[in-house]
Amino acid sequence: MDMHVHDRRRFLALTAAAAATPLLAACGAGFGGDDSKSDGSAADDVTGSFDWKREKGTTVKALLNKHPYTDALIADLKSFTEKTGIKVEYDVFPEDNYFDKLTVDLSSGRASYDVFMLGAYMVWQYGPPGWLEDLGPWMRNSSATGSEWDQADFFPNLLQADQWSLKAGAPLGQGGQYALPWGWETNVVAYNTDVFKKLGLKPAETFDELRELARTIKRKAPGAGFDGMYGIAVRGSRSWATIHPGFMTMYARNGLKDFTVEGGKLTPAMNSPEAVAFTEDWAGMVKQGGPPSWTSYTWYQCSSDLGAKKAGMLFDADTAAYFQAVEGASPASGKIAFHPGPKGPDGSLATNMWIWSLGMNAKSKKKSASWLFLQWATGKEHLLKSAITHNHIDPVRRSIADDGAYKDKMKHLPGFIETFETVVDQTKIQFTPQAQFFDATTSWASALQEIYGGQGAKSVLDGLAGDLADKVG
């Protein structure tokens, strides 16, 4: 009997040890797997003359976000395969969980996807851990990059937006090229021409005028035959995405900064007296002229309210309005016009941008084929076709923006081309690059909601700045 007990104990001890082995092994394995690094770029391995067929027979795996730009890309993938002999397999995820999927995948250290869509802000998060391939060496290598790719054709502010030295607070446009601009959006005001005509309104040239306009529309539009219409649609959900379109654009046009940088140290500046006054005014504008249930508003609700004639104006991405404005897309299509939006006190039209970029996984085993894909997807041929036959608008290349066929396609939208041309050179990332961007902007959106809810702007923003100082300092 004793022997039996002894056996059982021994058996359990051995089993426990066996179970613990992988745990201990995992402890010893470190975090995130293989940490072997090479200073040289894989681009250096590509030699000889440039050849689209160089990686014939390879399959590249892409992670894509559900978007009209993606639809245009997928529709044209056959051309890429014919040109290169490379097959592209892809997964498409909706935006709500696209970045979570990408983040988890990249942080796992696997190379499940060779290429993927990302925004410039994501470079600040994915760049420092070494998850993104520096595309600079690929762009500079004439064996890897065809001459027709024409780097100089990109709007320079867009290429710079994806270029960073990975140092918090350092300006963009220096260091590695961690992604390539593929499609973008500039944040401007779109408005319902019917309600403007009926109420005798003109687009606002100053922020004060915009606030007044929003109030006026909310007050007068329902009585003028626009049932349930409010003044201005802007995002309000508790997300980083609330801060970057209209809010950050107007914030920047007022000459305000998110952080000040001195000697590489970041100090939150969203509680400066001018920033507090602006934030209070913005929240007031939303309260008096914005949508009901604003705190749940994402770009989707804003955009569809403009299309459904619920919103008199939209201060957001020009594409968000464009997708409602095209013929047959919404009840308001044909009645939507574009305007650069209010200027700052000094006439500034500084505009914040969102930029859909394409990046390469630093852990990819198919970098040469992936680079051919990136080169094709950001090349003139595909982008021009996508802009004209699909809805890949806001071209990242000057040649496409100037193309007659593209202009013909867009000219029926009142003010679209003029607005684009007015703000394009002043549109850039208005945030200070730093790895805690998502924490900072999510907390900022939360603060904005509290101010909208009636809390004092100064105390809320002081609290936000204090909290962020520890995280980014």
């Binding site: 745990l23 959900s237 249930s293």
Partner: protein, 295 residues
């Protein structure tokens, strides 16, 4: 004893052992990670021992989240219990209507909570939502349900109640139908009224079933994520940022993995302790119920 017979107990526990390892391995790994400052910006981290927990407990954000989590869990579990038991009592008298209602009642349980939250988000939308449309004749058509901290919390609890009250009702109904009939027959012979019978017989004997439902619902509500995230994303402000949402934001959105896991470990400890207390209480209640039915 043959060797086959001697080996049999060990073979039989293998599935349970594998399951235990499958649970303990990620749990242990998570626990281990909390001792480091592991984040995206520090993929080769230093050991910081209990510093993550110290930071968690000294953060105002944690205490705010803990308070919101408790309010949510207590509120949801309490309302669901009262409503669930009431519905079960109403359905206990088996009529045709009751049997039809039983089947309808189970519908919310067939919908994923996140879908339910999205449906409710649309229904609660102030200008186009059906709730305000129905309230408009009563002069209440302009309520902004999720725009205020209290409104957002109450709306989230309401969705939880909508999804999970049927669960409590079904458990309570099963309990009611399994109660012995003799004590009720004796009470009827003695001329006991409905209220007296309910208070002295039905409720004491039903308590163990109700408590099982309360344990499940309370523990689940402490761990809520889907309903709140889909409905409010934690806003407005931080008013509905429960511990699970805070952990998700820290670990996934902000990529402070160790810190995010620390939040979940703290949450696990709270749920574990709450469950232990409730299960201990369940034993006492079961003994009391057995005494009542034996009388």
């Amino acid at each position: 004893m043959g060797w086959r017979l001697a080996l049999r107990p060990y073979v039989l526990i293998v599935p349970a052992l594998l399951l235990t390892c499958g649970i303990l391995y990620p749990f242990g790994l998570g626990l281990y990670y909390t001792l480091f400052d592991f984040s995206a910006s520090k993929p080769q981290p230093d050991m910081v021992r209990f510093e993550n927990y110290e930071t968690v407990f000294t953060q105002e954000a944690f205490w705010n989240s803990a308070w919101v989590t408790v309010l949510y869990a207590v509120g949801a579990a309490a309302v669901e219990t009262v409503l669930g038991v009431t519905v079960a009592l109403l359905l206990h008298r088996s009529t045709i209507v009751g049997r039809v209602l039983e089947k309808i009642l189970i519908l919310p349980l067939m919908i994923a909570p996140v879908i339910a939250a999205i449906i409710w988000k649309l229904m609660l939308q102030p200008s186009v939502g059906v709730i305000n449309y129905l309230l408009r004749p009563f002069g209440l058509g302009g309520v902004q349900w999720t725009d205020t901290p209290t409104g957002a919390l109450l709306s989230s609890i309401a969705v939880d109640v909508w999804v999970y009250t049927p669960f409590v009702a079904i458990l309570a109904l099963a309990g009611l139908r399994s109660l012995p009939t003799s004590p009720f027959e004796a009470a009827a012979v003695d001329g006991a009224g409905w209220w007296y019978t309910f208070r002295r017989l039905t409720l004491p004997m039903l308590w163990p079933y109700v408590l099982v439902a309360v344990i499940f619902r309370f523990m689940d509500s402490l761990k809520v994520f889907d309903i709140i995230y889909a409905l409010t994303e934690g806003g407005p402000g931080d008013s509905t940022v429960v511990l699970q949402i805070r952990a998700y934001l820290e670990a996934i959105r902000f990529q402070r993995y160790s810190f995010g896991i620390s939040y979940t470990i703290v949450l696990w400890a709270v749920v574990y302790l709450a469950a232990m207390v409730l299960v201990k209480h369940l034993g006492k209640i079961q003994r009391k119920a057995a005494e009542v039915s034996a009388k």
